[in-house]
């Protein structure tokens, strides 16, 4: 238990120190040390609880409860202050509602809130802790170099707000640990709200109009989800007389009719945090923030808290029809439509954002199905997504600083201009979507579980969505792959901390693919068995080895094998007289020199946002409303 408390408290202390330190070198040292210690501690945790099932720790304290409530109230007040400052009525109203409900909760039910077993660990928490501890800290390391460049690009004399930035990043880690270790719903909710507030402040960090606008969109959407969480707590404390997550789930398994509505409310909280339609726009808006923030939000924290909650609740979905259908359909529709919309994007960060949302949609849909195979797939998807997506964000961020653009079309020739970076980016893209890497296996388990449970609509959504996924990743890969003549190498000025961090992510992504059989064996299967008592059938455990072999081969080719050969170099064919092969300039029919250019296909007429966004938002909103109504009609037996 000490280890859990350490993981929660240590980043908290580090955040406080970082807030005070203004010296660059001292800050670097603290961030390095914090990242290393948190990473090591999370690994120690994984070793210490290797293969164990659900382990609870008797830990309860009225003081902590009160602090948790106070922090919740404080967050609402902070939001209100910002709401007043930037005249945002919706935020003020939501924060006021939350504040009042928070306080009523404290005064009306304080005596019932005690949860004897306040903290717990199971293999899912361990996996999450590893993701947060290794990938999350890795991103903090990356941020050091990135923020130096960022500060250098700021106007002279502007106040250096990096201490606040780093404090928020590290605080984020602490809040995530609270979420994954708390059995007490009140504590979990506090962690939940802290992550919401942290991302609000991080998204609005640059304080441009756009950033402020997007930050408020984020906070409004997530406070709606937060209210869902609060509502579920009210239900739980009034009807079930418990504030313990594990008891809530156990109770729900015995009396599904009683928890229909609270389950819907909790699912809504998970869906908003995981940026599913119709709430997906907050994550798209989040990319105005400095890149480390996007990486953190997209890969290891924030959105992962949403899917973590849904996966945790998964056993309940197998018996609560309305909530299960809501989660499945919202996830499935989001997966397909966001994959479609990603095709029409030229902005690399926007492609990444859409692919994150789509991928989370797949995880959410798996959680909604709730069978052992589906959960196995969901956890795998989560792990791969965390590693590959953070790598991609960091690569795009570095590329942006060095080529001055985040447009995919500008990444032409990146393979030669930034050879190492382009290869890392390729590994990231491969890790995101392709056979034989992990995604394939996960998708396959998804298909199996969808088919076995008669989720026919979902099968169709998956079939068309994955096809779109291929399209947008493949054309990006193609852009990176171009090679022409001798290009200037512009990656020499990339910070060492950035290389270290990107190298770590690439290593984690490749290792996760290559060690897939062990990962499944040591971490995921024990979790499935501890929750369901058995493994799902038809999980292709045998073929994991095959995929590991192929992953190793591919990684070796991309990292080691791709060097220009000693072949004689030929000129490029330009249907005429080539003037300059490297520049693709040819002599046209009027004897003028002309440069041949080709752009990727973005199929705007087919896959534009204008076409699919309204459809998805209306459909998903309708599904959510319908599920709530259906659950509400079932009379609660008191």
């Amino acid at each position: 238990m000490e280890l859990l408390l350490f993981l929660i408290v240590f980043p908290l202390v580090a955040a406080a120190v970082l807030l005070a330190v203004r010296d660059d070198r001292a800050r670097d040292a603290i961030v390095w040390a914090t990242a290393a210690i948190v990473a090591v501690a999370s690994i120690v945790l994984a070793v210490r609880f290797f293969g164990q099932g659900w382990t609870g720790f008797a830990f309860s304290s009225a003081i902590v409860d009160t602090i948790a409530i106070a922090v919740g109230a404080l967050i609402a007040i902070v939001v209100m202050v910002y709401g007043v400052k930037y005249r945002n009525v919706a935020a003020i109203v939501l924060a006021a509602v939350q504040l009042v409900s928070d306080l009523i909760f404290e005064f009306a039910f304080a005596h019932q809130m005690e949860v004897p077993v306040g903290l717990y660990v199971d293999q899912l928490s361990v996996i999450m802790a590893l993701i947060i501890g290794i990938i999350g800290s890795g991103i903090c390391v990356y941020a050091m170099g990135y923020m130096k460049d960022y500060q250098a690009h700021r106007p002279e004399g502007e106040k250096d707000r990096r201490p606040a930035f780093f404090a928020l990043m590290v605080l984020f880690l602490s809040a995530m640990f609270v979420i994954v270790f708390s059995n007490n719903l009140v504590w979990m909710f506090t962690g939940w709200e802290v992550t919401t507030l942290c991302s609000f402040l991080l998204i609005g960090f640059t304080r441009t109009d756009e950033a402020i606008r997007n930050a408020f969109r984020q906070i409004i959407m997530n406070m709606i989800g937060g209210l869902g969480f609060l509502a579920a707590m009210y239900f739980s404390v009034i009807w079930l007389n418990t504030m313990s997550l594990s008891e809530f789930i156990l109770f729900g398994l015995r009396h599904p009719e009683l928890i229909a509505l609270p389950l819907c409310a909790l699912s809504l909280a998970g869906i908003t945090k995981a940026a599913q339609m119709p709430f997906h726009t907050w994550l798209l808006g989040a990319m105005v923030a400095p890149t480390p923030t996007s990486a953190l939000l997209h890969s290891s924290t924030m959105v992962k808290a949403g899917v973590f909650l849904l996966i945790k609740l998964a056993p309940l979905y197998t018996i609560c029809f309305a909530a299960s259908q809501m989660v499945i359909l919202v996830g499935g529709i989001t997966f397909m439509l966001c994959s479609f919309m990603a095709i029409s994007q030229t902005n690399a960060k926007r492609v990444l954002a859409y692919s994150t949302i789509a991928n989370l949609g797949l995880i959410v849909a798996c959680a909604g199905v709730g069978t052992p195979e589906a959960i196995w797939a969901a956890v795998l998807l989560m792990v791969f997504h965390a590693a590959a997506k953070s790598l991609l964000f960091l690569c795009v961020g570095t590329a942006e600083h060095h080529i001055g653009s985040r447009d995919i079309e500008s990444m032409d020739l990146l393979f030669e201009r930034m050879p190492r970076l382009a290869r890392l980016m390729m590994v990231g893209i491969m890790g995101m979507f392709i056979a034989p890497f992990g995604m394939l296996i996960a998708k396959w388990a998804t298909l199996v579980s969808f088919v076995e449970n008669g989720q026919l609509v979902l099968v169709m959504l998956l079939a068309f969505g994955s096809a779109a996924t291929f399209m947008f990743w493949a054309k990006w890969l193609g852009k990176l792959a171009g090679i022409a003549g001798q290009q200037e190498d512009v990656e020499l000025s990339v910070h060492r901390s950035e290389w270290a961090s990107m190298g770590l992510m690439a290593f984690v992504a490749v290792a996760a693919c290559v060690l897939l059989p062990l990962l499944s064996n040591a971490l995921i299967e024990p979790y499935i068995v501890s929750v369901y008592g058995q493994l799902g059938r038809d999980i292709p455990l045998d073929d994991l080895w095959l995929s590991a072999v192929l992953a190793l081969f591919t990684a070796a080719v991309f990292i080691g094998g791709l060097r220009p050969s000693k072949q004689k170099q030929g000129p490029v064919y330009l249907s005429g007289v080539t003037v300059d092969s490297g520049e693709r300039v040819y002599r046209n029919s009027l004897s003028n020199d002309e440069k041949a250019t080709a752009r990727n296909l973005y199929l705007a007429a087919y896959f534009s946002e204008g076409r699919f966004k309204p459809v998805g938002e209306v459909l998903c909103a309708a599904v959510i409303v319908f599920a709530f109504v259906a659950s509400g009609i079932v009379p609660p037996v008191l």
């Binding site: 396959w444 291929f470 890969l477 792959a481 490029v572 064919y573 249907s575």
Partner: protein
């Protein structure tokens, strides 16, 4: 360990596939050229002409625009061999389908790497082709799973009757996109085997010598694999069914040549619309049918 035994089996099958499929594929390609020629009122080249072509390509001077397309094509070949090995070892159908897609990806990257405008256009179209056929391939695999209750290809050997009995719509849908996969007209928009395309030779514009030879060999292997997928629909526990399946596969292959010679190339919009519609209708109908039977 059981798992490792399976892996070994697949690797052995992959090696066998890598040796045998090019031979069979080469003969089929030669036959294709003769049949096509007869359909056009010509005599056509000798049966072994594709082999002579590739042998000549291997002897050509080693020239490349990008210097890396050869490596990408080697990867494409390796993955094609694995996809074939997995399928013919009786292993997982989905895995085979995914890995052959991976091979297409490497092929696409090889085309992109040259930065030739023609090759880039071709590569873009190739990704469109993949996107066009992928839903139907996935749904075909799903229907296979629902009919055979497993993704393992050798599962068909335990069945009382071939899966075609319950998967006719999916089979027809698959035939439709098979034309794209075999790079036959009217869907040979990324790279045509005939020398009359508006984007020169599309994806393979800048490939020559050994690299182009690899493309040819990959194409032979792909053809064998896809005909294997066709045959799979007609196999059941009766050993004689394998003969039937081979005959059906050859008949389908003849049909594809017939289509190739009788249809004009379409625009990519038509390809995408029609193949997604086919996937939605034929795949969807079959999935619903299997779910309620």
């Amino acid at each position: 360990m059981f798992a490792l035994g399976n892996l070994l089996l697949v690797i052995v099958a992959t090696v066998l596939f890598a040796v045998l499929a090019p031979i069979a594929g080469c003969l089929l390609a030669g036959l294709d050229r003769i049949i096509s020629a007869r359909m056009q009122g010509r005599v056509g080249p000798p049966l072994l002409q594709p082999y002579y072509d590739v042998r000549k390509l291997l002897a050509k001077e080693d020239v490349s625009v990008s210097g890396v397309d050869g490596v990408y094509m080697t990867c494409a070949l390796v993955f094609t061999a694995f996809a074939g090995g997995i399928f013919f070892a009786g292993d997982n159908l989905l895995m085979s389908a995914f890995i052959i897609t991976m091979a297409s990806l490497f092929f696409i990257m090889a085309a992109y790497s040259s930065r030739s405008p023609f090759a880039e256009l071709g590569a873009g179209r190739e990704t469109l082709q993949v996107m066009a056929y992928e839903p139907m391939v996935l749904l075909m695999a799903v229907c296979f799973f629902m009919a055979a209750h497993t993704f393992m290809v050798d599962g068909v050997l335990d069945l009382e009757r071939p899966i075609i009995a319950t998967t006719l719509p999916a089979f027809l849908g698959f035939l439709f996109i098979l034309t794209i996969k075999l790079r036959k007209s009217p869907f040979d928009i990324a790279m045509s085997h005939h020398a009359h395309q508006e984007i020169v030779r599309g994806t393979i514009t800048e490939m020559s010598g050994r690299t182009l030879a690899k493309v040819e060999v990959m194409h032979w292997c792909e053809n064998i694999l896809f005909l294997g997928w066709v045959a799979m629909f007609f196999v059941w526990s009766n050993p004689a069914s394998i003969v039937l399946a081979v005959i059906v596969a050859l008949a389908i292959w003849f049909l594809e040549i017939f289509i190739d010679n009788n249809f004009a190339r379409v625009k990519w919009q038509t390809m995408l619309n029609s193949s997604w519609l086919v996937a939605l209708v034929f795949g969807g109908v079959n999935v619903i049918f299997l779910a309620f039977v």
